[in-house]
């Protein structure tokens, strides 16, 4: 239990979220709607996109999100975070970009509170976060809503979105991050 779970355990369990939420109350597995619900609950302003009953439409998903945070807490206390799990080739590539400490879940050399005082930290953490929020709202879903629910349901718009996710991710990984991290 302390070791990371293999893909053939993790993947099917993640996929089971779709039927679990349908059976619980006919809810669609999709996480990024929570970002919209949080806006609607806090600063909706006069923006039409945020004028809806967020408790009724999003209460269940916000409870789900709270659970995800709790799950992360529980699992991190049963996970040996000091072990390096990625392969040697990935480790070498990251080392060439200056990322040597591959322990834990986030790169400690890049992501810490002090990093927010550097332009690199602001671009990756604040800029990256804003791109996640803007992009998922525009695309109408994220990895859960499009890559898992949408693809499993055979929906063409989700396939287009997933191809977009990878195009953006590859662009950032191969062209932008090497410049940013140098």
């Amino acid at each position: 239990m302390r070791r990371p779970w293999p893909w053939y355990v993790a993947g099917p369990l993640i996929g089971m979220m779709v039927p679990a939420l349908l059976l619980a109350g006919n809810r669609a597995f999709g996480f990024s709607s929570n970002l919209r619900h949080l806006c609607a609950a806090t600063v909706p302003g006069r923006i039409p996109y945020f004028q809806y009953d967020w408790r009724r439409r999003g209460g269940w998903n916000l409870a789900f999100a709270l659970g995800v945070m709790l799950g992360g807490f529980i699992a991190s206390h049963a996970l040996d975070a000091s072990v390096v799990h990625i392969g040697d080739s990935a480790r070498q590539s990251l080392a060439s970009l200056g990322v040597h400490d591959t322990s834990g879940l986030v790169p400690r050399e890049l992501f810490h509170w002090g990093a927010l005082l550097t332009w690199r930290g602001v671009v990756t953490l604040v800029g990256g976060g804003m791109l996640i929020g803007f992009g998922t709202a525009y695309a109408g879903g994220c990895t859960s809503g499009h890559a898992i629910s949408g693809l499993a349901d055979g929906q063409l718009p989700s396939l287009v979105a997933v191809l977009g996710f990878f195009a953006g991710g590859l662009l950032a990984t191969w062209l932008i991050l090497p410049v940013l991290l140098r």
Partner: protein, 145 residues
Amino acid sequence: MIESQAKEQLGIYLVIGTCFGVIITKAEVISWFRIQEMFRFQSVYMYAVMASAVATAGSSLFLIRRLGLRDGAGDLLGLAPKEMGSGRRYWIGGMLFGLGWAFVGACPGPLFALVGAGATVIIVPLLSAVLGTWMYGRVRHRLPH
């Protein structure tokens, strides 16, 4: 009565969410390193996780439809179809999200799990993501969909 029913229902989603948080943390799919490894094609791990997740979700959806399962209100269980429209929102929005995904090394669900797992600085991209969604709401009427 209605109040207590609503609370009970939220409890179900809290429990399912907790399971999801444990799964994605134990599977390391919330790891920045795993996401980098995926985008560098240096391991099949993430692709195998995603493919088996889609296969499991797809076969469950097939079964649920085949059995004609319904919810309490009598509606058939299933996912609403997404409108293609011009398709631009999917590839442009998708690419913008993809850039952020690689920068932060996490998508929205994992952002929450990472904060719970003690990576407190991830509160910054999480709040930035809320701000990004707010900005989308602000300019939505001017964007092609």
